[in-house]
């Protein structure tokens, strides 16, 4: 049966458009011949904001909501640009979308592909997934200051955690662990953040009774960073809060060869809103426009997107194509388009 994908693309800033061009190339090469892909580009990003004053409009949100999924490149400009201070783009656009579309699962797989160099001397098998909460925790924007700029300033940030939000995420994590190797690790800081930590721990303990085939353990976030560099093979599925997940997945990206290879999905499993797929890396303004950005993370994000939309075979074929491409890459640097072309070509073969 012919299918249609109604895709929204936010290529964004810096290397975003460069890697997205290759990701789309691969997307077109991967889907069955009778599949139509409707691509609508949205201009949002730091550049658009500087040019127009617009970050994410109500109309834009409404239009985006009509799509089957969103593919995002990278958003954000020069971090020293005062017009972009305070993470205005990150919060207004990236977090804005995650919150508006209730992307409560931030899914971040980590694999050390054959042929890829890890900074670890003996990485062993690196193949785990972080199920990061995406709509709560210290990310909710529930902070404030008094006497700002004075010697008596007090600046607070509130981490908000709900049974509703934690439970749905934890359930997703158990299902994920069950479909993998059946090992789930909760990462938190229960010995200091007792209220939030207590909620997370109690929720995991309660849901665990429904998954007797999943073994569960717990690590404090500080200890988890140690294991990520000394024994990453101990991890199968990690479930953790928004901020800890942010930190752990950058580290996970680094040990598996760099965040240039790390894909992620901002998922609304209920399907009420389109899910959004994006490389973990940023807009990298320092290398933008030179055609040297690695599009692999964006391409793997397309694989996650396809899998989410039910194109599981096609997603697996991209995974294989990327694995083969990485294994054959050697140390010679290739351009952004060369990598995209090679992977698209192998999918067509």
């Amino acid at each position: 049966m012919p299918r249609k994908i109604n895709l929204a693309v936010i290529a964004g800033d810096g290397i975003g458009p460069e890697v997205i061009a290759e990701a789309l190339k691969v997307l077109h090469a991967a889907v069955p011949a009778d599949t139509t892909i409707d691509v609508t580009h949205y201009p949002f990003g730091a550049g658009h904001y500087i040019a127009t004053g617009e970050i994410l409009t109500a109309g834009g949100l409404e239009a985006l909501a009509q799509h089957d999924a969103i593919l995002l490149g990278a958003v954000g400009g020069d971090p020293r640009d005062p017009r972009l201070a305070g993470g205005i783009i990150e919060r207004g656009l990236l977090l804005g979308l995650r919150f508006a579309f209730d992307h409560y699962v931030n899914l971040r797989p980590t694999t050390l592909f054959p042929g890829v160099a890890s900074p670890l001397a003996k990485p062993g098998k690196v193949d785990f997934v972080v199920v990061r909460e995406g709509t709560e925790g210290p990310y909710v924007g529930n902070g404030g200051g008094i006497r700002v700029g004075s010697p008596n300033e007090v600046a607070n940030e509130v981490s908000v955690n709900t049974a509703f939000g934690v439970e749905r995420l934890v359930r997703f994590a158990f299902r994920t662990a069950q479909a993998r190797h059946g090992r789930l690790t909760l990462v938190h800081k229960t010995n200091v953040l007792v209220h939030a930590g207590g909620l997370w721990q109690r929720t995991v303990d309660a849901v665990a009774t429904e998954y007797p085939d999943v073994t569960v353990d717990y690590l404090h976030v500080d200890a988890a960073t140690i294991f990520l560099v000394t024994n990453p093979a101990r991890f199968d599925t990690i479930v953790t809060d928004n901020l800890f997940g942010d930190i752990l997945t950058d580290l996970a990206g680094a040990i598996s060869g760099g965040i240039g290879l790390a894909a992620s999905g901002n998922i609304n499993p209920d399907g009420a809103f389109p899910s959004m797929f994006e490389p973990v890396h940023g807009s990298a303004p320092d290398i933008a426009g030179r055609g040297i950005a690695d599009p692999t993370a964006a391409i793997l994000s397309v694989a996650m997107l396809l899998s989410h939309l039910g194109f599981t075979d096609e997603a697996a074929r991209i995974g294989t194509a990327v694995t083969n491409d990485l294994a054959g890459r050697g140390t010679a640097g290739r351009s952004t388009t060369e990598v995209g072309d090679a992977i698209a070509h192998s999918l067509r073969a």
Copy 2:
């Protein structure tokens, strides 16, 4: 001039007493012959709590306050023991002391000593110090829950940051950077935690004008973990908040050969209260009583303690003795007492 050190020791739980015995051995070997060391042992810890119900008494605090410094081994019992749930010992005792004695500087040097194996393939030069805030942030215990245990539970944790608290810490960090290689890196998450992050960034910017010889840069905490495993040599002095400092210093310990070698100081630079020195590692109940715990972190904590009390030459001599000991260790495991004896012996030579 003969001197006296009036030392409080909290050996604590698990491997705490084992490593403290060696640390005291080294302390006695390091100080000049005319220095008297008065050691008072305090029984606090998980074991004491289980036996007596006492965590940290008002009388205990008052008595501890009379000392020149505190040496702490490790506190905490079996993490699965329900009597110790919710970090009751960590919060009541360790954080209790840090807060009661206004240990606003949590100083954590990281060095990859010659002869020590790093999990990194090419660690390069690892020699930096983390100046972690010790009395604010998400550690203040300002959280709470409503409808706890119900499907409508909400659990909040508040990170509290004050201009007073951040500025005094940042000033200490600038002085530290100045005495080192003049490079200070602020680590925070200013693009998400805008109120706290703004305070930290503005404080660093303001104090920086008084230190034209210190270069300052900024990293988000997630990016900092990447650099710690790909290019630790980029770091000289890191200044960061309580929680980020907790996470980064465990990772830093790991890349420099394990937290078995990582020392720390909980410092009240004003001298209003005794400072406290402790290995970064915990009580490690799994290896306690077997005489195999590495006392090096405890011994290096004694060096920090001596340096804090003005015994700078003696502190440096311990540093050299540890460096030599580590370089000569090879791969054969030595017992806790063998390591302590060897270092004490070399100091007496």
